[in-house]
Symmetry: C2
Subunit: 711 residues, 2 copies
């Protein structure tokens, strides 16, 4: 637990001062007053306004000094510039928490940011914690407190909602009313000058009346606090986050909206993954997922079945699972045999299970029972269309009897008027319903995605023992390069550092004589490649200065002579430094491992398809150091090329994935140990059925020695 | 016009016989009777049932023979097996159209298919056209006729709906009732034993009360009829089609559902594109698009602007446009200047146009007016969230005043209860509203996609004059290969055919002497490549049997000797056929052009990223021959690699796209002219800044000489 105990006073106050309460109906100070006093709140309320004696019959205090009691929470609805002075009076009334409503902070620029800083300094001085500024307030339905402007009192429920955007706070809560979605807490957090996501999630996540947390996020300020708090909550309670700004166009719009360099979106994605959060693509997904997760168990594996009384919608569901790369699971012979017993002969005999248009309530019930009994099935999407023989309500009634919590079941009800009663009945019996197969499937998949993420978080692993790491040597090398003001290392220098971290490289040696070449070839092991080494010959192939696949001493001797001859015939006055000898690497997959740095998220690692077209294919995944084997494995599995690496492709044999995992972990160790490594690239990392090598690479250094790690 | 005039009698009958009408309430024959007689239909209705005298007071005829009048339409609700005999009586009553309801046709297998054939033969004999079997019937709201079982009488409207699935016919029509969407016609077409999509679309599309056609499709039977009819309609009235089965998983489910090899889904996509239809991914999209297209003009270009009173939803909209590859358009200086005049200084100064949370109705109105006046803006998404100062209804009221039909405007209303009245007001004023930014953006984009497709259809182009086509020579070659029973041609043989169609190839010549090699190099032009030509040396590089980039006679002479020497030192007993000489082609993009054949859709062409990983990247597009330049250009533009071809990438220079267009057209001509070309592949087609060449390729022949073209 790491939240400040004062948050208890903030979100669960026994007394509230409303500073700036007014009787002018178009003002925020009135809206908040009204929302608090008419919402059923049982605590004490002190409206504060120097110019009023009463509002709608309620006594008004001219200043907090007039209140002769301690106050738990101050809701401040006066302009920002007046707040620093106001805070001086708080200690006297033991006020330690506040909600600052006014806009005019950092969102208007430097001047506003300074004002926020002044307020923050005063707050720190007096030990005051606050929400805002530029926020709408919050609601706590457990004590009937609707301490905000802009929303009606929410329905009660087990969900907590945190919104960084005031507009979406209002929009989503208004939507929730019409969709009958309930909340325990709803918090508008505004500019987060003091309280940030991390601490609030920690507080809300530890309340027993909170089972799920929804977040609308625009950007993080304090990544460290997020990282320290959130995973402890997410492994117990699902946290679902919607964040706009996925595409370049979206990010451009977001940065002009938030006026801040908000960090790159893919790094948010990576953070959510690492912290066990699941990301909803749209606000609609946010609610669908909340409904799915809060009403039904979370799928244990991605083995899903679709049951339907109409073929078309079954295909739509299968399609959508296909889009996620998770085709509906194949049914066991036993289950098919059981279904044969109770279904008409023309049933689909597979998944989707099409129980035909004339399906009775009993047929729905009995076939679902079989699917519930099949331990290989981990989640069920049931589709109902109102056909001539269909009895929707009776079907729901029968189905509810056999549903148990061993696996999730969601319903897709396709239709309108004829299904309203059925919809209500299912919802009341904790079975989520969706209007389209796509929504049900997306929700099932994202629920599983949450499971997968927290499983990865919880997974225990032994630390990987890494031999061949020469930290000291690398430190010395780096120190020397920086002293010499060389920040961009050559391929050769970079590979030397890779070697000292046990990263396999295709090392290149220079031979100045045939004998030396023979010795080197023996050391490296045949087959080898010879290349002319001359500063005057840039395009070695053009000069026929490359001889591949030399298999023995005899071939090597010939090749050595040949290559010198070719070079001199290509350019008679070329200065020949020697002939380079390196291992002959067979064709393989070209991969990339990289490390780079972001202002907000610090150092991060990348893995994926390498080669020239990296930025075009964008088949890459990311992770923050320290990258342990389980995270490295997940990084690899996230890419599309993983399937080819695992199974081989055409004449390329499958690759040793474990070795790639180890290389990623070694790269992670390298950047953890040496904060001076600003950027690093291994591209290509060539991987074939036999071996894996860094064929080319580079490192960019920085003189800074401060650690840049968020985990 | 190509529909059978009898369809007028079918869809707009003056008298109807209901064969199999009954008073048993759970039977289809009752449901149809009830739907017709109680829906307000003014024509004559003759219930037919040999065992009844009346149903609910309506006189029942024991057979159609008892009716002493001509009958326009027979709705047949008796088992299929009784229908062939029944049809014998139709002529007497001049019945020429029917709706066959019963199931038990091809969907149950061979026996059912035979029954359908018998019925079809009889129908042909008597000149009877029919819908079904295995369908629900239809509705024509213009004459208040609800001639089906399973749906309530639809609301009146200007949309026609055709569904191949009975279940979705019911589900969608039920949904439409609750969404208040109206129809002029709704048709369940069932097994399409006689009437198919093509003819029905032609009929409905020519009715003045039909402005938009919605289709739910599972599979086509008669592609030719579709191709002949649909484009003539789609260029005048939008046709929107939803079809399940996009992914492999979906297709698997679809084929088990329809029990037919339904044709590959990407070929449906290609067909829709070529015929000017737009495809909706989900049923929800189908309706959203109908609303957008029927209420507002269709965007002329993809230059869209987003106007919002909240930053977050603006970002969501920008994100979604980004996902479609169409970032919001940049606003002109002039427009920004005009907006500066009326907006508060903190507005976003860009697109999305964020007019800030306290936006008044007048601010909405005035800024939208400026966007309407900007001729560079071709479509507007307006977002409204109900914030504290927002007056949603008043905003709608003001905005409606300045909306004109110069460009489309859609609203996103984010919220619930607080926006219901506003929603209704906008809908009543022909402004489509959506609940999320994503839905509004998807709809705008798909509406534009429709425009783009019909623009391409309508675009006039001159026929490309193609020189260097030697049809006769290729005919002779192909004849000879087939006579010799060689169906799979070698690279060399394939390239020879390519050459005779003016497709540039990297021709390879064999030299058996240094002198011959010199002559060939002169003919080809330097630089050239020499390769050892020996059946005993497969891996030429391994034997150092390849010498690149030979620039002059002197280098060539040396290289020739060298290569023979290398080969013999690699394998002393190798049989040397000579040395092959070919042009040295610089590195370039690797593309693919292919042609293949589908059972249903016949011959089709493919273009895209080539090389080894074609199936992995799947960056390809398709088209049906004849592929004229405009279609070839569209094919290229559809791929992701197009951007690189156009702009270059890293050290690769931009490529001559026009030349690729020409090559695609030539390949199309080749397969049009020679139906024996079953499959064809050019992979890679190497394209660099200087030249484009078929570097490798193959052709597969078939002895059949029948044309396999759907266009």
């Amino acid at each position: 637990m790491s939240y400040d105990p004062k948050l208890e006073k903030l979100f669960n106050p026994k007394s509230i001062a409303i500073i700036g309460a007014t009787d002018k109906k178009h003002k925020v100070g009135y809206a908040i007053f009204k929302n608090i006093v008419y919402s059923g709140y049982k605590g004490k309320v002190y409206p504060i306004n120097p110019h009023l004696d009463q509002i709608e019959g309620y006594k008004v205090y001219h200043s907090i000094k007039e209140v002769d009691d301690c106050i738990d929470l101050a809701i401040i609805a006066i302009p920002l510039r007046l707040i620093p002075d106001l805070l001086d009076d708080f200690k006297e009334k033991c006020i330690e928490t506040a909600v600052i409503i006014a806009a005019g902070g950092r969102e208007i620029g430097e001047r506003g940011l300074q004002l926020e800083q002044q307020i923050l300094e005063k707050a720190r001085k007096y030990g005051i914690r606050f929400l805002g500024p530029n926020c709408l307030g919050f609601a706590n339905t457990l004590i009937d407190l609707n301490a905000n402007f802009g929303i009606d009192k929410p329905l009660k429920g087990k969900t907590a909602f945190i919104s960084q955007s005031g507009a979406l706070f209002t929009a989503i809560m208004d939507w929730a009313v019409s969709e009958k979605i309930g909340f325990s807490y709803a918090v508008s957090i505004g500019n987060m000058a003091d309280l940030e996501f991390g601490e609030i999630i920690d507080y809300l996540g530890r309340q027993k009346e909170v089972e799920t947390i929804l977040i609308y996020m625009e950007s993080l300020l304090d990544v460290k606090k997020f990282v320290d708090n959130v995973p402890n909550i997410s492994i117990k309670k699902p946290i679902i986050v919607a964040k706009a700004g996925r595409t370049e166009a979206g990010q451009k719009a977001a940065s002009s909206h938030t006026g801040a360099i908000a960090g790159q979106d893919f790094l948010y994605d990576t953070l959510f993954k690492r912290c066990g959060l699941v990301r909803a693509d749209t606000v609609k997904d946010l609610f669908n997922l909340t409904e799915g997760i809060s009403k039904q168990p979370i799928p244990k594996e991605n083995k899903f079945v679709v049951l339907t009384n109409a073929g078309g919608p079954g295909v739509m569901a299968a399609d959508r699972f296909g889009k996620w790369g998770v085709p509906p699971v194949e049914l066991s012979k036993e289950t098919i045999e059981k279904l044969n017993q109770i279904l008409p002969p023309v049933w689909s005999h597979g998944n989707p299970v099409d129980i035909i248009g004339d399906a009775t309530p009993e047929r729905y019930r009995d076939s679902l029972k079989i699917l519930f009994d099949d331990p290989e099935v981990k989640g069920i999407i049931t589709i109902l269309t109102p056909q001539f023989m269909t009895q929707p309500y009776e079907t729901a009634f029968e189905v509810v009897k056999i549903v148990n919590r061993s696996k999730p079941i969601y319903f897709t009800l396709m239709g309108g008027e004829k299904l309203k009663k059925t919809n209500e009945y299912l919802e009341n019996h904790n079975i989520p319903t969706y209007g389209t197969p796509e929504e049900a499937v997306d929700t099932m998949f994202l629920a599983y995605e949450y499971r997968k993420r927290i499983n990865l978080l919880k997974k225990k692993e032994k630390e990987l023992e890494l031999d061949n790491i020469h930290k000291r040597k690398v430190s010395n090398l780096i120190k020397r390069y920086i002293q010499n003001e060389q920040l961009l290392l050559t391929e050769h220098q970079s590979k030397e550092i890779f070697k000292y971290y046990g990263i396999p490289i295709n090392e290149t040696f220079n031979a100045t004589s045939e004998e030396e070449a023979l010795k080197l070839a023996k050391k490296i092991g045949y087959p080898v490649v010879l290349k002319i080494n001359s500063p005057d010959i840039v395009h070695k192939s053009e000069a026929n200065g490359v001889i591949l696949n030399i298999k023995n001493d005899q071939q090597l001797k010939k090749a050595y002579k040949q290559i010198i001859k070719n070079a001199l015939s290509y350019k008679p006055d070329a200065k020949i430094l020697g002939v380079s000898v390196e291992k002959y690497v067979e064709e393989g997959f070209e991969l990339i491992i990289g490390s780079s740095r972001d202002k907000l998220f610090k150092q991060y690692l990348m893995f994926g398809q390498g080669g020239k077209f990296v930025e075009f294919y964008k088949d890459v995944s990311f992770q923050y150091p320290p990258v342990t084997p389980k995270f490295a494995q997940a990084m690899i599995e996230e890419t599309k090329i993983y399937k080819l690496l695992k199974n081989g492709f055409r004449d390329l044999k499958p690759v040793n994935i474990k070795q790639i995992v180890e290389i990623i972990v070694r790269v992670s160790r390298l950047v953890e140990d040496h904060p001076q490594v600003l950027e690093l690239d291994i591209n290509p990392l060539t991987a074939n059925g036999k071996e894996i090598f860094a064929v080319d690479g580079r490192i960019k250094l920085t003189p800074e020695t401060e650690k840049h790690l968020i985990f």
